[in-house]
Symmetry: C2
């Protein structure tokens, strides 16, 4: 049975790293009985994989979860196959996808997660579970072999989904596109695909065919020519898995 | 001699379409003696190419420039070769690059511009003149054949460059990366490439080996491990063409 915790943002403004998401991860680990996780740091670009591992390890050791980063393993595919849990950190989604394809990890991770290895992702790590990376907010700093990603959920997540607010309206007086414009471009071009705007402080919990939204804000559902829909936290949103 | 006008944003907040940039285009047309332009609308996604052509045509007819969009031509490569001027509008850079590669226009446009056909681009259309699209802010809604673009300037433009400001700081209390974070990821990965942050209301005017910044705000120069540099408008910044 597929078990995934897909987190929007690791850390809210002003918090320690992984601040608000620690109890979500702790609960997920307890329910799925793991205390070790294989960490995939490839979304990290402006710092070393060792530094990234240290940061995550430091945060998760407080709740008794031991992290080892995949970059230490000679055979990363084997490491995936043997992992108790797979955790994929945030950063740049293009670099993450580039490395996952290059190291033949895309298929390996998909397989073990389909077979029941728990998966925790945040930001880029959540995006990675979608059919493609085409709804990321990241800069395309490197071209991956393909935009295809893990395809473990049938919809596209837009993490860090931003609602219009006065501060943003002020900012958006620049001449670039808004987030809504960008997602509309996507849904215009891909009219059969649903985009799910995952707001800050929220996560999607997938357990087999069941999915729940957790956190303090509704999930926003964007689809071509359909009225924007909002789904409340802690309600059953499993129908999204059957798209 | 290469003649290019690379505009950050077509339109400032609250203006008519192409508001502030009309006199820049008018001046560029006068100096380069053209009154007709071939328009490339492929960055437009959420509206039709006809609609895009109408919008641009409507704005530029006021200064006596006649626009025809490339989507009307049976042989787009021939249309490029015969154009008096090439204009590339803003929108989604991935879709623009996808179509340019698909229709074999990348090489065709590069050749005629190298040979002296004037080029006007705004937003995605300015990004297109860089070696690659890797510093766009756009959503990767479609995978182009390659991230390589026109390579008519040796640096990467980040259009709509945003300075931190109080409204933005407020907004950036979400857990996503800031613009500066994203560009730092790029310069970390590509340490020999210079990124040029082109602020709103500004343009780069290239005439052969000479380049001038026009507009009311300095150009920001971002390079790995180098102090951020600012270059004043209406000064000679031709050294950036020799990178």
């Amino acid at each position: 049975m597929k078990k995934m915790l897909l987190i929007s943002n690791s850390t809210n403004y002003g918090e320690n790293y992984l601040g608000w998401s620690i109890p979500e991860i702790e609960l997920f680990a307890l329910r799925n009985k793991f205390s070790k996780a294989l960490f995939i740091p490839y979304a990290g670009v402006s710092f070393s994989y060792d530094e990234y591992e240290f940061k995550v390890s430091n945060a998760l050791s407080k709740i008794g979860i031991e992290i080892k980063s995949i970059h230490h393993f000679e055979d990363p595919v084997k490491a995936v196959k043997e992992a108790e849990c797979i955790m994929v950190g945030g950063g740049n989604t293009f670099h993450l996808a580039y490395m996952m394809h290059k190291l033949n990890l895309m298929e390996a991770v998909r397989e073990v997660v389909e077979q029941g290895t728990p998966y925790v992702g945040w930001s880029a790590g959540s995006n990675l579970t979608c059919p493609t990376l085409r709804t990321t907010n990241d800069m395309p700093i490197i071209m991956p072999e393909s935009f295809d990603t893990l395809n473990l959920v049938p919809f596209q997540i837009n993490p860090h989904f931003l609602d219009p607010n006065p501060a943003m309206d002020e900012m958006m007086k620049h001449g670039g596109e808004t987030r809504a414009d960008r997602i509309e471009e996507f849904t215009t071009l891909h009219q059969d695909i649903t985009v799910v705007g995952l707001r800050e402080g929220c996560s999607l919990l997938v357990e087999g065919k069941k999915m729940t939204l957790r956190g303090g804000r509704p999930l926003i559902i964007l689809k071509h020519n359909q009225k924007v829909e909002e789904l409340a936290p802690y309600t059953d949103i499993s129908h999204l898995l059957e798209l």
